[in-house]
Amino acid sequence: MNKLLMHPATKPVIFLLCLLPFARLAYGAFTDGLGANPAEFLIRATGDWTLRFICIVLAVTPLRVMTKWNALARLRRMLGLFAYFYVVLHLLCYSWFDMGFEWGDIAKDIAKRPFILVGFSAFVLLTPLAATSFNRAIKAMGAKRWQMLHKLVYVISGLGLLHFFWMRAGKNNFAEVFVYAAIIAALLAWRVWNFASKRKAKPPAVAVRGSEKPLRTG
């Protein structure tokens, strides 16, 4: 598996796979294939895909540790940037199709509607993560600080879930929300469990640091 993951074609293939939802939405938008309310469809679909990519990127480290497919780490940055790609589209669709780029109205809407405020906060918090995703940023910040910053993704996943939960709350329609919540909860619980069991297994601090690559913590 590691060999396959290290294959030069793996990354481009996954890159294209990640673009498939976008391609399908773009195709639908130009061929009238998004149903009666294409604006709503685009806004919701880009939101769904943001949440899915957050789940995918949060799954990388648990999967890597459990399976020892260490080469998975190569993909994590790209997957994280796709989460950002879809959230930018999400915000763009909302600002354009729902609000007609009326900035005053958008500002009012964000302040007035808690679920949009929460979603917008998640976007704002995700921005520095995307902005510091290149190697030089890691060096400039120092691995430790960089890791701390990127732990924000846990907060962001919670805000994203709350945003989705609130959006569905008016209709008491939580089935889908609970699926995402269960996945994210399991991925975060694994981290807590992993942290706790490592603490038990090893003498505190010291040894760990030197042997780790900066991208390790997830």
Binding site: A36, P38, D109, R113, A169, N173
Partner: protein
């Protein structure tokens, strides 16, 4: 009979009781063409503008999609019953629905509502009326002359459509059953059959879905008991075989697939009000000035508007544009409190 007391102009000889063979019916396009010509001639030079207006109105009659059994409706004389807005495509009206008994996604009802059995169907009228009873759907269809009504429909979610319904004023039925003096409200109970409605078991709402109107709202001529749309019987996903359409209220007030109409003294509880009282009030009149707690109601997206994806949202009108007809029902009421 009561409905004869007001002038009804019909666009054909069908009085709603005796249906001619379909082969004997003059095609709509033909009779409308003749009528347009007559109107133009009668109007003469002085009435040219008026004739153009009148022919526009005739033109607005919906073309049949030829999907279901025909249900023609004569032209309605009720003020405000013929919106001049461009009709929403039948395809959109029948594929983008909120009908939670068949699923919470708006595409679900069209996929799942095939299981709904609309025959036999009875509507039970009970409560504070002198003549309670069970009405078979065939009798209900013939109870009064079917009219076409082109109404705007504004969903509480912020989208809208323009739909040519076929039905008659609910008032016609109410007059027949003779409400008692203490009947102040009308409650509508809809079908909740777990065998044919896959989501009736879900916990989204408290089933059956119920709705209610104040007596004067129920008696208002615009309040429609609808059996069809686009000149055909209702598709299942749109609330077949009989539903309510209250055009000045948010769409969820217009109960679908009604099985019981109950006349009561106290304001009945309603499904969405039970689910979220702070978000959905009993009145739920379309009102651009009273926002939903989670979103603005100032604008709406008209489904199928020209420009598609890039069409701007339009401003929502007070009482969905029916203020002239229904505003007086709420005179002196605080509409912010009674949302």
């Amino acid at each position: 009979m009561s409905f004869q007391s007001r002038p009804i102009r019909r666009s054909n000889s069908d009085n709603g009781f005796i249906h001619p063979l379909s082969s004997e019916i003059t095609p709509r396009a033909a009779y409308e063409g003749r009528r347009d010509l007559l109107k133009l001639m009668a109007g003469g030079a002085a009435g040219a503008a008026l004739a153009g207006f009148a022919s526009r109105e005739a033109w607005a009659q919906a073309e049949r999609p030829n999907k279901l059994a025909p249900l023609p409706g004569g032209k309605s004389a009720v003020p405000g019953a013929m919106s001049m807005d461009k009709l929403t495509d039948y395809k959109d009206v029948s594929s983008y629905n909120n009908f939670y008994e068949f699923g919470t996604d708006k595409a679900d009802p069209a996929k799942n509502a095939g299981t709904l059995k609309t025959r036999p169907w009875t509507v039970e009228v009970e409560g504070l009326v002198k003549k309670p009873g069970k009405f078979g759907i065939e009798d209900l269809l013939k109870l009064s002359a079917q009219e076409e009504r082109i109404y705007r429909l504004r969903c509480v979610e912020g989208w809208s459509m323009v739909i040519p319904w076929v039905g008659y004023s609910l008032a016609e039925l109410i007059k027949k059953v003779e409400p008692q003096g203490n009947a102040k409200y009308v409650e509508f109970v809809t079908l909740a059959d777990p065998k044919t409605m896959p989501f009736v078991g879900s916990r989204v709402l408290d089933w059956p879905y119920t709705e209610g109107l104040r007596m004067d709202e129920a008696m208002h001529p615009l309040t429609l008991l609808a059996f069809g749309m686009y000149g055909e019987v209702l598709p299942n996903q749109n609330g077949a075989p009989v539903r309510l359409v209250v055009p000045w209220k948010y769409g969820f007030k217009s109960a679908k697939s009604i099985v019981k109409i109950r006349f009561v003294e106290k304001e009945p509880s309603t499904a969405w009000n039970k689910a979220a009282a702070n978000e959905y009030g009993f009145y739920s009149n379309v009102n651009p000035n009273v926002d939903h707690p989670r979103w603005s109601q100032a604008t709406e997206r008209r489904i199928g508007d020209g420009g598609g994806l890039f069409a701007k949202r339009r401003k929502t009108e007070m009482f969905n544009g029916y203020e002239a007809q229904v505003g007086q029902l709420y005179a002196g009421m605080d509409l912010k409190k009674n949302y």
